[in-house]
Symmetry: none
Subunit: 194 residues, 4 copies
DNA sequence: TATGAATGAGCTTTCATTCAT
DNA sequence: TATGAATGAAAGCTCATTCAT
């Protein structure tokens, strides 16, 4: 039990170190030895938990992506109306991107870079299903535009990544008002106008 | 004259090789020797045109970014109405992102990664001014929402990068219809509803 | 214990390889890879023991210089008379320079070249103090000329470096007779004539 | 004539640049391109005057060595007595080493380093003959010790190189008094005591 | 004679990975 | 399970030298 916990702790420490270092320097500029040092283990120990560097970063990606989706859907219930459901999910996602900055930046880098392999990428999207279901419901009810889910995502969810990045580079501050404006922009872009 | 042209050709070949290889493998996974080989020069020759690898990628970024903005604004005239102007610019940008795929992917990687240094990043944004001016006009005329330019960009322009990426990974095909839908989503998100 | 010994052995092998190769080819003409090969380690292993090439040569210098002074003063006792003391030290130095040829040549190159950094140079001279003390005593007793220690060194000790070099280039042979002549010349140049 | 002069000027500029740069950085740390730049010529031009880098430094050595000996013997006449002759030559050499610092440092580096090839080294000593002749005369007259010329050189001439070096590193200042003391030490070491 | 552009070879150093313990 | 020492391979970069002009 204690031994198992220690193992889990080490694995976690490695994942966290990977996130922080890759965020600062990028994947290839981050040596395994540095990750090991930050996680307080020997470089050789990494290979007890992961096959190689690519595997480490793939697994880190999947882990972070699943934290992201878990957070996104935690308060959402399928009984909610489409409008309410979307707002609940959207605000959780915004929350995550603005508060869990390290995780969010890591995902942004993974998603725009050839650093993650395809299988892991696919694994990462899996858990987005509840949002797709909500959209399907919204389309059926004539509330959401009948367009590709990718378009819906591009216009309602993805802008949050961009906003998180520029806030992080110090260009803007996203307060409650900006958040509300952002939500209105997101909703405007995908809802059907009557 | 011929000598000067040959120099320009070599510099260009290096820039193009950098774009293609960084797109495929990422910045750090692309060795200078590979760039040299693809540009048909010796590794040492790169250093006649650029100070070092960082300088090469910075200059490539600035070059690509300026191609992008030049293309974006080529058919836009300040005499156009806000609606017309935005549509013209938006469609040129969409065109660029979907046709000049290599350039667009390169920019996406640069913008989401710590691979470009700050001065070059700032240099890169400079040429976006006409769009900001148009938005200012639109806000004054009560056509565009009075919100931060970053928000406007996040919702009306940036989604195109995401769409380009997923199209490139083979997930979707952006045809004329999807483009029109995307434009409507973009415009909906930033225009004021009456 | 055995591991520690192996570490020390490797470090020593690297130091000895550095001396030999720098003697033959000079500092900059000696690649790290050649040093590694001669010490029977991988090039990367050098960097476990030394920060970089400059550090390797600095540390080698300090090591050799301290062997030199240790040898020079080993049989000297402060209870000896000035004459006896000087003769004892001088002959030990001569011994060292003529027998430990590799070490002596290495020092000659370091001392006449910008290849060692200043801090290491200063560190290297530290241990010459007993000779300076002996000279101070000699001056106080009216046996040694009251002139700068640098002058005393230039005329009584430094010529041995020159003789070692020319013997090594095959121009002369320093036998017992030449050594005695050299000692007389050294002593003549610094003692006060009555 | 003017063309010839220009050629000679370029050759000289290259020699002088070599001396200065090798003094500062050492032979191998001095790139041909830097020498070319300092001499205000193209790198390719060096190869019109010298076969390669080794040849350049060899020829520079010979040139500097011959300046040195020319200076040393300029005021000496074979009609002078041994004592007077030695003093005249010694003081000229001291003058040279303390005033033509760049030349003297360059020679010190060449003489203690494997950077000059053997033929050039031999060529360099040739012109020392008048001093050897003087010593032969001194030995015949019972004024100079009947010992190897190398020993005489080691004790009477070579110390000046050491003194020049330490003065140059800022450790001492060689004024008229120190010079006289040095001369006395030199003379003491080689003259026969009666 | 003189050049600037070009380069192949080789340098120092780093790093993902392994291995003896 | 855990490690620190070790390394082969490869990276970025430099430089003596050449070549087209």
């Amino acid at each position: 039990m204690a031994a198992l916990q220690k193992s889990i702790d080490k694995r976690n420490a490695l994942i966290e170190a990977t996130i922080e270092l890759v965020n600062n320097d990028g994947f290839h500029a981050t040596p395994m030895s540095k990750i090991a040092k930050m996680a307080n283990v020997s470089p050789a120990t990494i290979y007890l938990y992961f096959d190689n560097k690519q595997d480490l970063v793939n697994k880190t990606y999947i882990e972070v992506k699943s934290r992201y989706t878990a957070y996104a859907f935690e308060t959402y219930r399928e009984t909610m109306s489409v409008e309410e459901g979307f707002e609940v999910i959207w605000k959780r996602i915004a929350d995550f991107k603005l508060k869990e900055v390290a995780d969010a930046m890591f995902l942004a880098q993974c998603d725009n870079t050839p650093m993650i392999d395809e299988p892991s990428r696919r694994e990462g999207i899996k858990h987005l299903q509840p949002l797709l279901d909500l959209w399907a419901r919204g389309k059926a009810e004539g509330i959401i535009k009948p367009i590709s889910d990718y378009l819906l995502y591009a216009y309602s969810i993805n802008p949050l990544s961009f906003l998180m990045l520029v806030e992080n580079r110090g260009a803007i501050k996203i307060g409650p008002q900006e958040l509300e404006e952002a939500f209105q922009a997101a909703w405007s872009s995908i809802k059907i106008n009557r």
